[in-house]
Symmetry: C2
Subunit: 204 residues, 2 copies
DNA sequence: GTCTATAGGACGATAGAC
DNA sequence: GTCTATCGTCCTATAGAC
């Protein structure tokens, strides 16, 4: 097996294991076993346990940004590309986010677990999640700017509602339809959003 | 030191450590050290590591129910006491919950971390949190019944918003005023709640 | 009720052969 | 690129003295 696909395999396996155990509960032995390797074999590819975590998060970010852009029909870019985000419709972006997340509960669980673990300042992923929250809030706020009196507050509400509903869904995936519930819950939230005259469906 | 207060000390120390590390990252050695005991000394009081976790959660539940009842001016009972919950005002209960939680970030962080970890079906606290979610949703729903068209959906929204805002607050305790933001975010949510003619401020 | 001593593993990581 | 072998550290839990 060549370097690239072996690395992909390791990251995929780790993603699932972190979702089940969290980072503190993750063992290199388990990763190696599920990959059909030994522990030093895994470490050869990722350097250390912390390096493995970072690799998983970065890998997921690029993959996710691409998928989200495709889902929205954008040519390229992601949520970090803040040019002209005012022209983007927040409700549609949220719907796309939720629709995509609903299809991959494992990765969402990974984020839920790590997000809580990483509240501790000495967690290897602490600053990653701190920056991520700021980035998402800024993007949401910019999309809401000019259409509501308190864009920052709307951004916080949207993010909070999403995170909270995710937990309920993950705990009960069979009874809760994530996307359907999101639409029902978020609908009233977006009800009084003003549209701008130059509203477009994609940035740039 | 007598049995009871030694046990209290162990539970308090464990609470803080779980908040920092999660349950998988908790070590009996750390607990023993911070208590000025040895590991067997701690195990003597709680039986096992799992037993320690259960003890922490149960201890917190009783303590929290009592404090919440006091905050609302109730004579006794807690959220599990569902008699006549229709007569209770949901907004006031939520405000009391948030006000209390805002004063104890460590315990809130413990719940946030465990809540995510316990999404895995084989986690020792999995069923505890599954039951807890059901219990809280039922209570909220009952408080909203007769005052809104979709009480279950309002219950889910309230719980989701609370959990989500908690994460944002915990990640940034100095910049986010938990109670203040809750009032701002939840206000619109409760705006169209109808009051009942026999509305009282306490049950029974 | 708390201790010492220790069993019996699992952990992350390194060195060096192939 | 993956292995074997191994180091040193950490872990939960038990047995038995005081």
């Amino acid at each position: 097996m060549d370097v690239a696909s072996r690395r992909e395999q390791i990251l995929a396996v780790t993603t699932q294991l972190i979702a089940e155990r969290g980072f503190w509960g993750l063992s290199m032995q388990d990763v190696a076993d599920r990959c059909g390797l030994t522990v030093p074999g895994v470490l050869h590819h990722v350097g250390s346990k912390d390096g493995l975590l970072v690799a998983v998060l970065e890998h997921r970010d690029t993959q996710d940004a691409r998928a989200l852009a495709a889902e929205l029909g954008w040519p390229a870019g992601d949520l970090t590309d803040t040019r002209e985000l005012e022209a983007v419709a927040l409700p549609e972006v949220c719907a796309a986010l939720v629709r995509r997340n609903a299809r991959q509960p494992e990765i969402v669980r990974l984020y839920a677990v790590l997000e809580s673990e990483a509240l501790a300042p000495d967690h290897p992923a602490h600053s990653y999640f701190a920056q991520r929250q700021r980035r998402v809030l800024d993007a949401f706020e910019q999309m809401a700017r000019g259409r509501t009196a308190q864009p920052r507050r709307l951004a916080m509400t949207v993010l909070a509602l999403m995170d909270g509903l995710q937990i309920q869904w993950l705990r009960n995936p069979d009874e809760v339809d994530f996307f359907h519930e999101w639409e029902a819950l978020a609908g009233p939230l977006f009800a009084d959003l003003r549209s701008t005259k130059s509203r477009r469906t994609k940035p740039v």
